[in-house]
Subunit: 188 residues, 4 copies
DNA sequence: CATGAATGAGTTTTCATTCAT
DNA sequence: TATGAATGAAAACTCATTCAT
């Protein structure tokens, strides 16, 4: 029973955060959405922070899964890099609630060491995935190029959260790929 | 007296948010830091949300001021664009507390319409400043290039908030300027 | 099976109270220490209060057993009284957890009628045991002397619970026996 | 206002503990008895533990005051010792609620370091007050005699809390003074 | 203008107890 | 018997907000 309940709570937490567009959600609300009492939520997670931590972990796990799936079909280094970029904006995996929650956890990571640790892992992973693909393509510039691409990915991400009329995911991918094209044509 | 009190509260709010690395700060703490009672804080602002809103406005105003100062000395379109990029990372204007608060308000804007409005204005302004500089430099691509540059700026910004060992402001500027160089050399 | 389970719970309750140095222990913790579920604990005892009551009874029973054993070897009235005094501080019977629990139940007896009844029986028993031994030794003063001795026993007991650097059990016994000596030499 | 409120809360806490004959009383109840909201109680004391600590301190302070007043009129060493004994049972100072609370805090001191510190001070004070009076009276035996007298005082105290039909305060004083008489007549 | 006293609602958390299996 | 899932009540604590002074 425990894994079922825990999963229900994690999903409910993401949904609740998504609905409130903020981390100001109560355990009671989360538990109610998950169809159980707040007492049970505490029984399984011990504290609200642990529920949130599990939710953050889930979101990043989903992201990682999407990226890995995209990488599996990539045969060339360049395809790998493009897969990471495209995968990062694949809306199949990121329903709106998860995107909102991601943003909230990003901010929360500044004051919450556990969430920060999680976010740093995400950062590291994005960077190293990019570097691995870029190394054969750009001589000695892989680290810098990866850093720039990562910044573009995160940057488009958060800008989208603000601009209802903003760029679509697809446009973001197009612009990042244009940058990549240019780098690969002329690595300076 | 009123403007002095209001300003003290706004600065205290930013400092308090910076110290807590979160918006979970109480009006009492803010008021105490500003050297007055919580009652007076309410007297001047009506509510906590209004204090926060004023703080967000202040941060963006400071940013805008820095950018405008940088633009004033720029004589060519290219210099204008470079001024915006460099100005965005000038640490003279962004002390750590303001940077932290900016990130928190960014997240907060998702659930707070007033803050959202403010953030959208910032977005618009950054975009149009860039477009204005870029239009003479890139044929018809100004909007897209501006979008990409803005994403890079915001992206480097938030990534720095997570990576203690991350890129310095200076490195971020270098990388963005490299991208700009490349765009201007070969606008595709 | 039932008596084994009940006994395990009682021993676990005493141990848990000893570890917490307070009656603020949960049924779950007690049950876990006894190697069973909290549900089973309720099945056997009906309520937490009943578990506590059984624990208090157990502690007093152990005390009584020790005293009776000490009395069995006593051949003279004086030996009987000395046996009660020495037996009360025999650490063979009172492991630290039981001493702590005794103190907690002592306080608890003020608000819990069932525990109070138990404690009063202990009081009566101590008093009548002493009186029985003292009657042949002190003319008509047995009741008062017993009362004084009982107060000394309980008094040393609780003072030890506070003073880490306090008197040892042995010293307490020596001082009480000195008092007894004096009384018997000169019963006034 | 603060000292008035704090005092009201301390008195209410003692009264509430006395009424419940246990430390299981809620801050709300205490606050209500003191005529204010629970929020205000927290505002002034920070936590329930601090309220309790202040209550324990108050009880011991009252005790100390009574003892000091009794000592003031004592002209001889023996009168000093007798004043301490009689003062300890003077019901003018110890209304029932305080007696009950004292017993509860005694038990509580086992798990609460702050209360323990307080209780140890009380212990030390009782011991040293007695020793100071006894030294001129008993050669080199002052420490032991003081220890015994202190045990008798505490012992009669807690036994009274259990025995509705038990000894009165006056009888306790008589018995302790008899012991003192005997010691002083024949210090062994 | 200014204080800080005061409230009360809201949140997290704990647990005894019950009950379906 | 035995489990542990599940509840819900109760309590501590925090804070925005109000208001008398």
């Amino acid at each position: 029973m425990e894994p079922i309940r825990r999963d229900a709570l994690v999903q409910a937490a993401i949904a609740e955060i998504g609905a409130a567009r903020s981390l100001d959600v109560s355990v009671s609300k989360i538990a109610k959405r998950a169809g159980m009492s707040s007492g049970l939520a505490h029984h399984y997670f011990g504290s609200k922070d642990q529920i949130f931590l599990a939710a953050a972990r889930e979101i990043l796990r989903d992201y990682q899964t999407t990226i890995l799936a995209a990488l599996k079909t990539a045969r060339t280094p360049r395809a790998r890099v493009e897969a990471i970029i495209a995968g990062s904006f694949e809306d199949a995996c990121f329903e709106p609630a998860a995107v909102t929650a991601w943003m909230q956890f990003y901010a929360n990571s500044q004051s919450n060491p556990d969430v920060q640790k999680l976010m740093r892992i995400y950062h590291q992973r994005l960077r190293s995935n990019l570097v691995f693909g870029l190394r054969p393509l750009v001589n000695g510039k892989a680290a810098d190029v990866a850093e720039t691409l990562a910044a573009m990915i995160d940057g488009f991400y958060i800008r989208q959260s603000l601009t209802a009329d903003g760029l679509s995911n697809r446009q973001a991918v197009v612009l990042i790929l244009q940058h990549l094209d240019q780098i690969l044509r002329d690595p300076q």
